[in-house]
Every structure is written in C-alpha cells, then in structure tokens.
Amino acid sequence: MMNFEEIITQKIQYLNGETSQDLDDKMQAIVEANPELQAEIEFIETIWQSQSLADDHQPSPALDARFYQMLSLAQSSQSPPTNDMIPETKKHWLDTVSRLFSLKPLAQFALLVLVFFTGWNLNTPSQPLVQVTSQKLEEQIATLNAMVAMTMLRDQSATERLAGVTYSAANAQNDTGLNDLLLELLINDNSSAVRLAIVDALAKRNNLHDIQSKLMFSIKKQNNPLVQMSLIRLAIQKQILIDENTLSALLNDQSIDTDVKDYIRENRRQLTGRHSV
C-alpha cells in the first residue's frame, strides 16, 4: 500500500526537476480520495510556484561541495583560500603578459642586469669608460682632501695647522692651491713648528723647480734659524742652486744667526754648484 509520504516525495522531486514523472493515476486517485493529502499537495505546489524556485539557478552539487570545503577550511585555519580551492577560471593571455611586465619584476630584472654589467666591467679595467670614471673619482677625492687640508691650515691653532700640514703631505701633494697656501704659510706663519713641517712636506715632493725662487725668497724672511737651515738643507737635497750674490747677502745680513751663516759656508759649494778645481 503506498503511503502518503511516498506521494509527497514524488511530488517534490517532480517540482525540483529531479524527475520528469508527476504523480501517476494511482497516486492521483489516492490524493483525490484523501482531502488532507490533497490539501498538502496543493500547498506544496503553491509554495513552489510562488517563490519561483523552479526558475532560480541553483549551484551544482559539485560547486556546493567545494563551497562548504572552503568554508570549513576558512573556519579552521583562518587563512584565505588558496588558488586551488578557488574555482579555476579561464586565464586570459593579457593577464599573464601584464603580470610579467609589471613594475616590480622589471625593476628586479634591471637591477640584476646593472649588477652583472658593473661586475663584468670592473673585472675588465681596460674598458675606457671604467678608466674615465675611476680617474674622475680619484680627482674628486683629491680635491676633497685638498679642501680638508686647507681648512685645517687656516685654523687659528698652531696644533691644528700642524695637523693640516701632515695631512696635506699624506693625502694631497699635487693640489696647486694647497701648495700655494703652504708656501704662503712658510713665510707668514707665526709658528716655527708649522714652518718646519712645511719644509719637511716639500722635501717629499719630487720636483721643486717650479717653486724654487719662492723657497729661496722665504729663507730671508725667516726669523727662526732652524727653519732657515732646513730650507738650506732642502736646497742642497733638491739641487736648487743659489747664486753667489744671494749667498753673500745672507752672510752679510746681521739678523741671520751665526749658526746659519756657518752652515751656509760649510755647504757653499753644493749651494752654488761650484766644484773644486
């Protein structure tokens, strides 16, 4: 005997589209014979039709299953769903291209090329571009060193100026402006320690012929015998010749210390370049 539940289930399955077969004659006869059953069937039909449930697009069972899987994962790990959970959509080729050529990968690629290029060029110093760059860098460093030395040399403190002389001798021997300042201080600095250090710094240069006349002029301007003798020794060491008239003037100068005059006399031949016959 068919029960009411089977009839209602058949009706719902038909309304859901799960079956194409509505109630058969036997079922229909039972429905018509039972007013309560008939009312219930009519109620179900009314509800189904008013909500238009038959017209709505329902997710497929497979999609439903994936949705609930995602939900359970999200609830358990609190992490966003990964790409393999998200239903795959068809990728457009433009998306791939735009992803490859976006700013960040381009910048990374450019940096990699720059590093490679720089390393390769540094290992091949014969490259003219690297030589020019290296030379300019050295010139800038030399200029900076000269500026530091000049700042120290203009300080009021003799200890600072002394430090400036030793700094210039170690780091900026070839700067023209710095050498001019050193020559000026050789004559005008009030500290003989600074002037002695300048003479020592000049002694380390290879060629003094360009400043030869200034050096000889500064001998007469000195008020310290040690500095005068250092300059005379410098002239001997660098083969800077002094003419006889200048030497005679120094020997006759009352302000020149006797020790200095003795030193000049002892080294007269070397200073004038006259050799014994």
């Binding site: 200890t159 003989s192 320690a193 060629n207 210390d257 020790d259 030193y263």
Partner: protein
C-alpha cells in the same frame, strides 16, 4: 772710608728708582661654559709663567710685579738728559702694573708688553684647558698637569711641561725644553724645537707614537723600547731617468702602533728620550 762707602752703597740700593714695592694681584674668572675646555692665552714681555691644572671650574690668576733691576748705564744717561728741573720733587716709584685680562666666553687672554716690569704670572686652570703661552724675555715657562692642547714659546728661557697629554707645540731658542707626558694624545701631531737647548722627553711605555728626530750637531740618547732608523729620501726624475737618494737627515722610531707623530728638531742641543 769703608763706612762711608757702605752707607753710600746702602743709599743707592735703597733709592726709590731701584727699590720698587712688590705688588700682588689675585683674580678669579668663572667660565661661561664650565663643561667645555677653557682656552687661555698668556703673553708677557718680561717675567715668568707658571700654569697648573687643578680640579676646578674657574681660572685663577695671580701676578707679582718683581722689583726692577739696577738701572743700566743707558738708562742713567737718558735720565740725566731731561731738560725739566726736578729739584725739590720726589721721585715716585712706578708700581703700576700693566696687565690686561680679557674674557670672552671660555677664552681668556692675559697680556703684558711692558718692558720695564718683570711679572711673575701664575695661573690655575681646569685640567682640560688649552694653553697658548709666549714669553719674550726673562725666566722660565712651567706647565704642570694640564691635559688640553699646548702651544708654548720661550725666546730667552727654558720650558718645562710635566703631567701633560698633548698635543704640544713648543719652541725654545737657547735653553732646555723638558716634556713629561702623562699620556700621549694621538688626536694631532706634536712638535718640539730648540735651537741650542737640549730637548728631554719622557713618554709612557704604551704611547702610540712615531718619533721623528732631526739634529744637525746634537747627540741622541734613547731609553725607549724602539729602534731608531735613518729616514732615507729617494727622489726620482722619471723624465730624465735620474734618481737621487739622500741618506739620513732624520732618525725615526715607532712606539707600539706609531699612530701619531712626534717631531723633534734641534741644531746643537742633545735629545734625550726616556720611558715612564
């Protein structure tokens, strides 16, 4: 006769122009910024300078005007040539002290260029003060326990600096220069120069110093744990393919790392280097 000469001699010695009263002054100066080093400049024409470091914040100056020396023959001649009559007038001994003290922030200048007075100047300074001292005639310059930078020149007397750290730039002409380092400051180079005087330097064993010595006729004596070698200079003229080598000229020694230079120059004086 002897009694008369003795009396006359006593009268000469006690006469007002020769017996000036000693005059003393004391003055204390507070620094504008006690936490920062003071910079003291002192320049005297005639006298002596003593500077002592102490654990304080003020700069304390005391000066004594010493009695004048006997009037020289030249001065007597100049005095007798005055045209104005002075009969009946009493000569007043000039004890006015010409000593200027200026303060500008932490910078203090003490100056006296009076040739007719002998000033014994004593200054007490905070330990970390910087000094710039000059004495043209007279006696000694003495510095004790000052740890800042020192620049000192004595034209006619000796210089003694004890318990210092440097850097120091010191110059003597005819007298000895004695320096005893408490520590050796490697921030800047130091230079010691004497024309005819001796230079005597004491260094702590741990000093990082590169010593370079030049002396024309003096001797070098060393008790340091470092070997002295002659510094040779090689000049090469690349264009003419010539080279000139100067042997000697300077002697150099490196103590420990040799971080900072100590330059010593004399003409006739001897050089003494001692360990502390």
């Amino acid at each position: 006769m002897r009694k008369i000469c003795a009396l006359l001699l006593a009268a000469c010695l006690l006469s007002p122009p020769l017996l000036a009263e000693e005059r003393k002054i004391n003055h204390s100066i507070s620094l504008q910024e006690p936490a920062k080093p003071a910079h003291i400049e002192a320049s005297l024409m005639n006298g002596s300078i003593l500077v002592e470091g102490y654990d304080g914040k003020n700069v304390e100056i005391s000066a004594v005007v010493k009695p004048l020396k006997l009037i020289t023959a030249e001065n007597t001649k100049a005095e007798s040539s005055t045209t104005r009559p002075s009969k009946g007038l009493k000569k007043i001994a000039n004890t006015a002290m010409y000593l200027e003290v200026e303060k500008d922030g932490n910078q203090i200048s003490i100056d006296s260029m009076n040739k007719n007075q002998n000033i014994a100047l004593k200054i007490r300074v905070p330990f970390n003060s910087n000094l710039d001292l000059a004495l043209h005639r007279g006696d000694a310059i003495e510095i004790n326990n000052v740890h800042g930078s020192i620049e000192v020149g004595n034209h006619d007397g000796p210089i003694t600096a004890k318990g210092i750290r440097g850097p120091i730039v010191a110059e003597c002409l005819r007298h000895d220069l004695v320096v005893i380092f408490d520590q050796y400051d490697t921030s800047k180079p130091s230079s010691l120069n004497a024309h005819r005087g001796n230079i005597d330097v004491t260094l702590p064993k741990k000093s990082d110093v590169n010593i370079e010595i030049k002396t024309y006729q003096g001797e070098i004596y060393s008790g340091l744990d470092a070997e002295f070698k002659a510094v040779d200079t090689v000049d090469k003229d690349a264009s003419e393919h010539e080279q000139r080598i100067s042997f000697g000229g300077a002697m150099a020694a490196k103590l420990n790392k040799g971080t900072q230079q100590l330059l010593i120059n004399t003409y006739r004086g001897d050089i003494f280097l001692r360990n502390k």
